[in-house]
């Protein structure tokens, strides 16, 4: 059985699972779930900007602790919340940042063999980068985990995303699943018919064929979807439910976030 095939299958499965989990958490009762999605989008963005503008590690670490606290208050499973960020971040950012420990010029912190030395400046840089990436990803994850997808989509309009684009994003999300299922089926049917090892060239050809079929199916489906839309009276623009009202709780939340964000950015500047 070919490795690439196996891996493609695994990744497609993982994606489906991840997103199903997000749907489930967003329907639990919790602090963030009770806030208006539009306010949540804006405040999350403000917190991420603050985490990226802050120049001191303690300020960013404080924002991460806040994210942990919010996750706890919003019934997000903490173990999973921490693992999903900190298993992935060091793997990518950690490895990328590691050489900066020795490559950044500055006062020597620890001598290593082969005439290398970890510099203080390098250590600070790597710490800052890891904290920043981890905190930003956590804050984004928090927003997505606690907001149902349709509400999140509607909330995008406050950021002046054009209606047409919101409509397209919504449709894309829906058809990602259709195409994922289709790709999964094609891989699986192929897998069930392959007994020997495939040569790399054969495998490439097969993947090309699957991708090509998927592309043809996508274009074909888009035509069918259009006809369906037209038959139901589509006039070139989408309609969404009127969003709910912003309550005093939302205002309080926004004010608190503004304060925290300003504090994180301005502290020890």
């Amino acid at each position: 059985m070919s490795r690439a095939l196996e891996r493609s299958l695994g990744e497609i499965g993982a994606r489906l699972e991840q997103s199903l989990f997000a749907e489930e958490v967003s329907r639990r009762a919790g602090l963030l779930q009770s806030l208006d999605p539009r306010v949540k989008v804006v405040t999350t963005l403000a917190l991420i900007v603050a985490a990226n503008l802050a120049r001191r590690a303690p300020a960013i670490a404080g924002l991460y602790l806040l994210a942990l606290l919010l996750a706890w208050a919003s019934a997000v499973p903490l173990g999973l919340f921490v693992r999903r960020v900190w298993l992935a971040v060091p793997l990518f950012t950690g490895l990328v940042a590691l050489p900066a420990l020795v490559l950044t010029p500055g006062p020597v912190l620890a001598q290593l063999p082969l005439g290398l030395a970890v510099t203080r400046t390098g250590a600070v840089t790597v710490l800052l980068l890891l904290l920043r990436v981890g905190t930003s990803v956590s804050l984004g994850l928090l927003l997505v985990l606690t907001t149902p997808w349709p509400a999140l989509l509607r909330a995008l309009t406050v950021l002046r995303v054009p209606d047409t684009l919101v409509l397209i994003v919504g449709m894309t999300y829906r058809y990602i699943y259709v195409l994922l299922r289709l790709a999964n089926d094609m891989f699986l049917s192929r897998k069930s018919r392959v007994v020997s090892r495939l040569s790399a060239a054969r495998e490439r050809q097969m993947q090309g064929a699957i991708a090509g079929t998927l592309l043809a199916r996508s274009l074909h489906t888009s035509g069918e979807v259009y006809l369906t839309m037209q038959s139901r009276g589509f006039r070139g623009y989408g309609q969404t439910l009127r969003p709910g009202r912003v309550t005093w709780r939302d205002c309080l939340w926004a004010a608190a976030v503004a304060l925290v964000a300003a504090l994180a950015v301005l502290v020890a500047r």
Binding site: R3, E11, T119, I168, V169, L215
Partner: protein, 385 residues
């Protein structure tokens, strides 16, 4: 010497007797290269934290006109059909980003599918579709930053489609072009598109330490200067990721030509006129080239010599005890007409950089044009066989 060295106070600079970048041993560079090969082939999505919010805002502003242009073009040419078409293509490029394409030698890699989308739909529509896919990835799956969405969309959804479509249309223009030629043009388009995108991403990374650092010189965002970031991003892409992109683009175009050729024609027909589209694509390619030429003085920010382009003296400086004798002998054989990209008669370093870039581009274009002309003249003979 690193680019942010001047920001160190003289006292600290004295304490630091250790100049890491120049004396970093070969194994460290090899390690870094290998790590980069593994990491950067799994996708080019820049997470938040690598780019300063200012850079993110600038990249967003750079991508914005392409979204406006794309949506407008879509409305003109496709009207109401556009919504489902773009949605399905966005979903397709989302799914295709998860495909593992096996390479010779046992490694596998991911492709972006942006080049393929550009060849089938035209770069304007592809830019919107791939942007939507990136937006969903960032929002829903945390792949790529939320602040960095502008940078990611510019690198992946704008640069790759426009560059690869320009290369494809240029090489495969004319209805008479053979299937083999079109497949090769598609693959080359994907290869060039992703490589250019990787280069631009590296520039975005590389300017961070020079522009944003703490008082003690510690970089606040991506830590590597241009001299490290560019080779670390571009070399693995040239060797692996761009090959994956080329393979996927070529394979799918080959498959479509065999099974469903009208699909490719339909994609080309979606443009007002294929030939005019080619012209426009070319014009965009020229614009990108011009932007790169103007950006050439950025190289002045990069200290040291490009990785792998050391001269004999620099090799000795890098700590190589004995300069290979062949290099010493052959090095003198070829004196570049523009040594170190410098025109001595011009005092201004930035200006001479731009001029060198213009001359370099002109020479490259001439060579490629000659090559293409040669290919074109051989085509009828091939067809008669």
């Amino acid at each position: 010497m690193a680019g942010y060295e001047p920001s160190l106070s003289p006292k600290e600079a004295q304490v630091d007797t250790y100049s890491p970048l120049a004396r970093a041993p070969r194994w460290l560079k090899v390690y870094y290269g290998l790590a980069a090969v593994v990491l950067f082939t799994t996708g080019m999505h820049v997470p938040d934290g690598y780019l300063s919010p200012v850079t993110c805002a600038v990249m967003f502003a750079l991508a914005l006109p392409f979204w406006v242009l794309g949506l407008r073009r879509v409305r003109e040419t496709l009207s109401a059909r556009s919504a489902p078409l773009i949605a399905l293509m966005a979903a397709f490029s989302f799914v295709i980003m998860m495909f593992n394409v096996p390479l010779p030698g046992g490694t596998t890699g991911h492709a972006t599918g942006a080049a393929l989308a550009a060849i089938v739909l035209g770069p304007e529509v592809a830019a919107i579709a791939v942007s939507v896919a990136l937006l969903i990835q960032a929002l829903l799956f945390g792949d790529g930053g939320i602040l960095a969405i502008g940078a990611n969309c510019f690198n992946i959804a704008v640069v790759i489609p426009f560059v690869s479509a320009a290369v494809y249309r240029w090489l495969a223009s004319g209805a008479s072009s053979s299937a083999r030629r079109r497949v090769a043009a598609a693959a080359l388009g994907g290869y060039v598109g992703l490589t250019v995108a990787a280069f631009l991403t590296a520039v975005e990374f590389g300017i961070q330490p020079a522009l944003f650092h703490a008082a003690d010189g510690a970089p606040l965002y991506a830590p590597y200067p241009l001299a490290v970031a560019i080779p670390a991003m571009v070399i693995p892409h040239l060797l692996v990721a761009s090959v994956v992109e080329a393979a996927l683009t070529g394979l799918v175009v080959a498959y479509l030509l065999r099974i469903n050729p009208q699909l490719l024609r339909a994609g080309e027909g979606a443009q007002p006129a294929a030939e005019a589209g080619g012209r426009r694509g070319l014009r965009v390619l020229w614009l990108v080239l011009a932007a790169l030429v103007v950006a050439a003085p950025l190289g002045l920010l990069a200290p040291g010599t490009a990785w792998g382009e050391w001269g004999a003296e620099e090799l000795a400086e890098l700590g190589l005890g004995a300069v290979p004798r062949g290099l010493e002998r052959l090095g003198a054989l070829w004196g570049a007409p523009l040594p170190d990209y410098d025109l001595p008669s011009l005092g201004n370093a930035g200006l001479s950089y731009v001029l060198s870039a213009v001359i370099g581009v002109a020479v490259t274009v001439l060579v490629v044009w000659l090559f293409a002309a040669l290919l074109a003249s051989r085509r009828p003979a091939e067809g008669s066989r």
